[in-house]
């Protein structure tokens, strides 16, 4: 194994321009903010047309589904990867990043077959998210069960 030279790494760190951080942070900020605004736009649209028939939570699920559908289609067309290269965390942290993390490996590994390529690679990134999500929600449920009085 070739361990990278410590002095070399420090040199790289020094040479890396500071503005790099600021630039990526700014990009993440405005793209992430914009994605959330798009979500808010759909939310307002659905509330306007369906608000009388649907509870708020169902509308929020519809917004999530809309954003997921758009993202997966953009991933299929190869556009979301370009957004990701520009925006960094701005495209990872919103729910669209989660959708992209399901669709992107699925498409990439499709040539290894539908079952072993497409389906099993769907969860290479999303798997941990779902495992941690479900586990933590059950832990929360059990905590609530024990200290029920505090949450009612």
């Amino acid at each position: 194994m070739n361990e990278p030279n410590k002095e070399y790494l420090e040199l790289v760190k020094k040479k890396m321009p500071k503005s790099h951080h600021l630039k990526t942070m700014f990009r993440a900020f405005w793209v992430g903010g914009l994605i959330c605004c798009i979500g808010q736009g759909f939310n307002d649209l659905y509330t306007h047309f369906l608000g009388s028939k649907m509870p708020e939570e169902d509308i929020s699920t519809l917004v999530t589904l809309t954003l997921i559908t758009i993202t997966v289609c953009l991933t299929g067309l190869g556009i979301y990867d370009k957004i990701g290269a520009y925006a960094g965390a701005g495209s990872i942290v919103p729910i669209t990043g989660f959708a992209n993390s399901v669709a992107s490996p699925a498409i990439e590994h499709k040539r290894e077959g539908v079952v072993l390529g497409l389906c099993s690679n769907m969860f290479s990134v999303a798997g941990p998210v779902i495992v941690f999500g479900i586990t933590s929600s059950i832990v929360v449920g059990i905590i609530v069960l024990i200290f029920k009085g505090a949450f009612v």
């Binding site: 979500g39 965390a89 942290v93 729910i95 769907m122 990134v125 998210v129 069960l145 949450f151």
Partner: protein, 119 residues
């Protein structure tokens, strides 16, 4: 109206900016970022802070993966209060069932249709 969208932009943007700072300083992979934000969302919802962020930032708080985590916790709390232990187990995933089912279904269909590009 415009003020509302500014708030959404600000809250969503700041959450993503924190993610970018984490990537820049710790070189975390996207899976770790997603898990980290998800668990933060679960925690903030459980202690009751997230609902204030959601009230102020609306979609700025629900669209990031933290909102997904807060939905999980919200569902688990609601389920437990209504159905006891069974609700504790099913409540969380019930609340996000739409999102997970949707993302699996659509990714599968799009995966079947689109051709894999060599990278």
């Amino acid at each position: 109206m415009i003020v509302d969208y500014l708030k959404v932009f600000l809250v969503g943007g700041i959450i993503c900016l924190i993610g970018q700072v984490l990537i820049n300083t710790t070189k975390m992979t996207s899976a770790r970022i997603l898990v980290g934000f998800l668990l933060t969302g679960v925690l903030l919802e459980t202690v009751g802070v997230y609902k204030y962020i959601r009230e102020w930032g609306q979609a700025g708080a629900t669209v990031p993966i933290m909102g997904f985590g807060s939905n999980l916790a919200k569902g688990a709390i609601k389920g437990t209060i209504e159905n006891g232990l069974l609700g504790a187990i099913t409540g969380g995933i019930e609340a996000v069932a739409g999102g997970i089912a949707g993302v699996i279904f659509i990714s599968f269909i799009v995966g079947l249709i689109s051709s894999s590009k060599t990278k």
